[in-house]
Structures are given as C-alpha cells and as structure tokens.
C-alpha cells in the first residue's frame, strides 16, 4: 500500500503539538517526584476521575484505533464480540481484583504475587512473564505509530517506530508515573475528540441517518451490508468455544496485564479504584462502539462502492476512509488522535517494565540499595528499556492486533489466574501457583511461537490431540481455551496436594478484602475451586465437540 504521496502538513503539525505537549506535561510533573513511590505509583495520590481517564487511554491503544478496524474487515462479527468482551472485562477486573490489589499496597503485579505467596522464585518467574507479554503488547503498538508516520510522511514505518519510541521513552523517563498519568488523561481527551468527530463525518458521507451519534448511527445501512456481506452479523461462523476463549482471554488477561493493574496501585484507596473503573468502562465502551461503526463503514465502503484495498493495507483503513470521505482537516484530527492513543499505551508498558526490572528484580537481588539510588537507577533503566523495545519492535507483526491477542492469552494463563486465586482462595500456595503459571505461560508461548512467529497453520502445530480443533476463523484463539483452564486446574490441584500456606500469608486475604479481623472460614471453602475445575474441564471437552458443524 502506498502512502498518501505528499507531506501532510496539517496532520504533521497536530501530531507534533501532541508530542510536544506530552513532553511538557512530563517536565511539569517531574516536580512531584521525590522518591521511588512517587516515581512508580505517583505517591498513591491519584483520584478516581484522573485514574479513570488515564485508564481509558491505556486501554484504547492504537490497536483499537486502527487494528480493530482491520480485524473487523477480516473477522467481522467475531472481532466485534472480542472487543465487546474486552469492554466488559474492565468490570471483571474491578469485581475480581482491583480494590483488593489496592489494599495490598504492592507496587506491581510481580510484587503482589511474591508477597501473597511468600516466594522469591515466583517473583522472578512473574517478571519474566511480564516482560514477555509487555514486549508482545509493545510490538503491536509501536508498529501502529510506524503506520501513522508512514501514512503521514511517506517515510518507512521503522522511522515512526524509532521517533515515537524515543519521544515516549523521553517523557516516561522524565516524569515517572505522575507524568504518565497526566499524559494519559490528556491523551484520552484528545482521543475522544479525534475519533468521534471524523467517524461521524464518514458516516454522514456514507448516508447514515444517525451519523451524529456514531455508536448507534448506522442502523439504516444494515440492509445494504446484509446484501453485500451476508454473514456480517452472523456469530455462529465459528465454534462457540471461541467465544469462551475470548471471555477467558479478556477477563483474566486484563487482570494479568501488569500495566492495567499498575494503575490501581496509584489511586488513593479501594473506593477510588472501584469508581475509576466505572468511569473508564463507560468511556471505553463509547469509543469501542464508535470503532465498530468505523469497521462497518470500512466494509460498507469497500463492498458497496467497489473499492479494492489489499489485505496488507487494512491497518491503514481508518485513514483511507477519513481521507476519502471526510477530508484533510478531519484526517489531521484522526492522525493526532492515533499518535495520542499509541503514546499512552506504550508509556504505561515502559513504566511497568522499568518497575519490574528495578523494583522487583534488582531490588531483590540487592536489597541493601537505598531508595535514592533505586530512583536514579530507575531513570537509567527506563531509558535503556525504551531503546531496547524500539530495537525489538523493528520486526513487527503483520497485523498489530494479533500480537495483542497473544499477549492477553499468555497474561491470562500466566498472571491472571494466580492473581484471582490469590485474592479469592486462601488455600492457594506457591507450589500450585508455580505449576499453573509456568505451564499456562508455556502453552500460550508455544502457540504464539508456532502460529505467529513460525507462521504455521494452527491445525498443524505439534500440539497432541487438540491441534486439529484449532480450525476456523481466528481459530488460534482457542489456545487460550486450553492455557487458562490448565493453569486453573494445575494451580488448584497442586495447591491441594501440597502443604497449605502459613497463617501470615492467609491473613493477607482477609486484609485485602477490608476485614479488620481474621476468620479462617472466609475465602477457604471447597465450592469455588471445585466449580472452577469442573468448568475448566468442560471448556476443554467442549472444544473437541461439534467438529463437523462449523466451516474449517
């Protein structure tokens, strides 16, 4: 796909303004950083509104802005249901984990796992899992920034990856979590305006009667799209276990993705953590439903107006649509919004990677190092990580959302499961968590390596018994339907077969739930673990049924 072919001055100017404001905000926020707690968790002083807005831009990365549109063109309904589950998963994160993690007073997910289960080894393993999922997440987002620059300037995507990566590294290093938080809040506001208005103009150009409210404004175009793409609204093109896998991947993946969880360590208390999520999910839903409209408009535009766009260019589709149907002013807004979306997510990821390496790894290997030295090291580490991530992102995935989906699946099995069980079941111990975490991560990683990295057909990967059931559109998602249940089963069974955790570790569960006293009967029943095992076995069995019912 060729770029626009000329320097897009207006888009470039707006993008530079977004970049400059981001750096200035970090410089301003630097004054609040006095110690390590300020640098990593903003002194635990962020309010519900600020945190909710910051979470929105963290959630709405470039993968939403441009990747989802591409996926809707390819996968149609299943792509939409995937993002519907992603929207709802924020409430799952809140109900199962957010306020409890805030009460635990950890800095990071890795610190929570180490302290809750009393194991240094688990801390190191979780740092490795965190690095894997963060790099996968980053690769997708930095490629997104590259796409914007390519379309904008006609320069290779690599230039965009390097420039965008350097800017975000600079402002994360300078401002720490205060800078990241205020930047994410600013970027959410930019993103909302820069997405809603151009999409409304596109829908108007296509003749949609409800163009002024994009999330629900394209209903009158449905009959035409049904003629052009008869299966657009047909959910049963895939085996139902795909939906179950999507649920497992999003609901437990978001709990396992440390950059989402880290936002909850920055708020004042558990109540602020809860209400920030409600604000976040409302705005995330607003933006996601607007992106569904963009995906619909893209398919509609291509099918009803006979426009041929190669599959490799689907990631550019938002810009192609806005350019063709709305005009340059709106395109400039869309480009600036994309830059803001990309920067905010990359910043959150860099932050958690720096915290993981300095606080959870170096801080444990050399516990005598004082906070002042750790803070100085954090500045250096953050900068070095930024440079390394740019280097790793030079070979990005073909479609940016695919890498994110793998990150969710691996995070769900590797980190989401131990966090949920650690909060809701006192009997969970370090042996069970170690077994579930390692095996769950390895299954997800094996899937990514064979299918995404080596490019094998999912049904041909060397996975005994289950490989042939990974057929159909987006069939690789079913790997999550294996990894998460197996992680749950192993964690529970091994925990049961090994000695229970000490009283001090079990006491943490009562404290996380806000109780002033300790009662051994709380969160210690057999109902929850048995139900989880039964459901996990059911999911794996269900995957192997109805084989002849769905298109291969």
């Amino acid at each position: 796909m060729e770029p626009r072919g000329e320097l897009f001055v207006l888009g470039l100017v707006l993008s530079i303004i977004v970049l400059v404001i981001s750096v200035l905000i970090s410089v301003w926020a630097r004054r609040f950083t006095r110690n390590l707690g300020d640098y990593y968790v903003a002194g635990r002083s962020i309010g519900a509104v600020n945190n909710g807005l910051a979470m929105v831009s963290l959630a709405l990365s470039l993968t939403t802005f441009i990747g989802l549109t591409a996926l809707i063109i390819k996968g149609v309904y299943i792509a939409i249901s995937l993002y519907a589950a992603f929207t709802a998963s924020f409430i799952g994160l809140m109900i199962l984990a957010a306020p409890y993690l805030r009460r635990h007073k950890s800095f990071t997910t890795m610190a929570f796992i180490a302290e809750r289960f009393g194991s240094k080894t688990l801390r190191y393993i979780s740092v490795v899992v965190m690095m894997i999922v963060s790099v996968l997440y980053l690769a997708g987002n930095l490629k997104g920034i590259g796409i914007v620059f390519y379309f904008l300037l006609g320069v290779p995507e690599i230039v965009g990856i390097v420039v965008g990566g350097l800017v975000v590294t600079l402002y994360v290093t300078l401002g720490g979590m205060y800078g990241v938080t205020y930047n994410q809040t600013f970027q959410t506001i930019v993103l909302l305006f820069c997405l809603m208005f151009p999409v409304a103009v596109v829908l108007r150009a296509l003749g949609a009667a409800g163009w002024f409210f994009p999330p629900l404004g394209y209903g009158d175009l449905v009959p035409l799209i049904n003629q052009a793409v008869p299966h657009y609204f047909w959910p049963m093109l895939v085996h139902p276990v795909v939906y179950i896998s999507v649920f497992l991947g999003t609901f437990f993946g978001i709990i396992g993705l440390p950059h989402f969880v880290m936002r909850y360590f920055t708020v004042r208390d558990a109540k602020e953590a809860r209400w920030s999520t409600v604000l976040c999910v409302f705005l995330v839903g607003l933006v996601n439903t607007t992106v569904y409209a963009t995906g619909f408009a893209a398919v509609y535009y291509m099918r009803t107006q006979g426009v041929q766009i190669p599959e490799a260019a689907y990631d550019y589709m938002v810009f192609i649509l806005v350019d063709a149907l709305a005009g340059q002013g709106w395109l400039a807004l869309a480009v600036a919004g994309s830059v803001a979306a990309g920067l905010s997510t990359v910043a959150g990821l860099l932050m958690i990677m720096g915290a993981g390496l300095i606080h959870d790894l170096y801080g444990q290997i050399k516990p005598d190092v004082d906070d002042e030295k750790k803070l100085k090291l954090s500045y250096a580490a953050m900068f070095i990580i930024g440079i390394l991530v740019i280097f790793f992102s030079l070979n990005p995935p073909e479609f940016i959302l695919i890498a994110i989906m793998w990150a969710f699946g691996i995070a769900a099995a590797g980190l989401g499961v131990p966090i949920v069980l650690g909060i809701w079941w006192k009997r969970t111990n370090k042996y069970g968590v170690g077994a579930g975490m390692v095996v769950g991560t390895l299954i997800g990683l094996f899937g990514w390596f064979t299918i995404d990295f080596l490019g094998m057909n999912p049904v041909d990967i060397p996975l005994p018994f289950f490989a042939k059931y990974l057929y159909g559109p987006l069939g690789f998602i079913k790997i999550t339907g294996l990894a998460v249940p197996i992680s749950f089963i192993l964690t529970i069974v091994v925990s049961w077969l090994t000695p229970p955790p000490g009283e001090e570790l079990q006491r943490q569960v009562d404290e996380m739930h806000g109780w002033n006293d300790v009662d051994p009967r709380r969160y210690n029943g057999k109902g929850l673990p048995i139900t989880i095992i039964v459901l996990s076995v059911f999911v794996m069995w269900f995957m192997t049924t109805l084989y002849d019912t769905f298109p291969k």
Partner: protein
C-alpha cells in the same frame, strides 16, 4: 459472616451477569432464536446456502435497524456492564463503611 456472605454473593452474581452479557449473550440469543423460532441450520445447509440462508437480521427482530442480538451485544457490553459495575460499587461502598465501623 453475614457481611462476608453478602460480599461473595453480590460479587458472584455481578460477575456472572457481566461475563454472560459481555461474552456470550449474543451467541445465546442467536442459538435460541434458531432453535425455537427457526430451523436449526444443519452443517449441510450452512455449506449449501452459505451467504444466503445465514441472514439473522430479520425485520421483526431489529432495533434501530440493527439485528436484535447485535444491538444487545453492543449495548449490554457497554451500558449494561457500566450499570452492573456501578451497582457493585455501591454495595461494596456500604460494606466498606460497615467494616470500618
């Protein structure tokens, strides 16, 4: 134990509702609709009439022009979960006040 049971029950109910309306609801609607109001499409029918018989956007099941299951998917996974989340927050706020007292 009374407050503990309240916390667990409210959390369980809210999580199940959010999981269903955020993840599976749309497929349930379609499956049940096909099962009880239309013929269940056999594999042969799916393949034979692929692209024609797979219309699920029936006029009497449309809201604002959208197929009912699609409309419910996007509204429940957005407004629906926001409301459920807010209700859960209110209950937990009260529980927290009681715990402090």
């Amino acid at each position: 134990m009374k407050d503990y049971k309240l916390e667990v029950r409210v959390t369980l109910i809210c999580f199940i509702i959010v999981a269903v309306i955020g993840g599976f609801f749309s497929s349930f609607i379609v499956i049940l609709n096909e099962r009880f109001f239309d013929k269940v499409p056999t594999p042969e029918a799916l393949i034979q009439y692929y692209g024609e018989s797979m219309f699920v956007a029936k006029e009497h099941l449309a809201v604002l022009g959208f197929p009912l299951h699609y409309f419910l998917l996007i509204m429940f996974s957005w407004i629906g979960v926001t409301i459920i989340g807010a209700i859960w927050c209110l209950v937990m706020d009260r529980l927290e006040e009681r715990q402090r007292a």
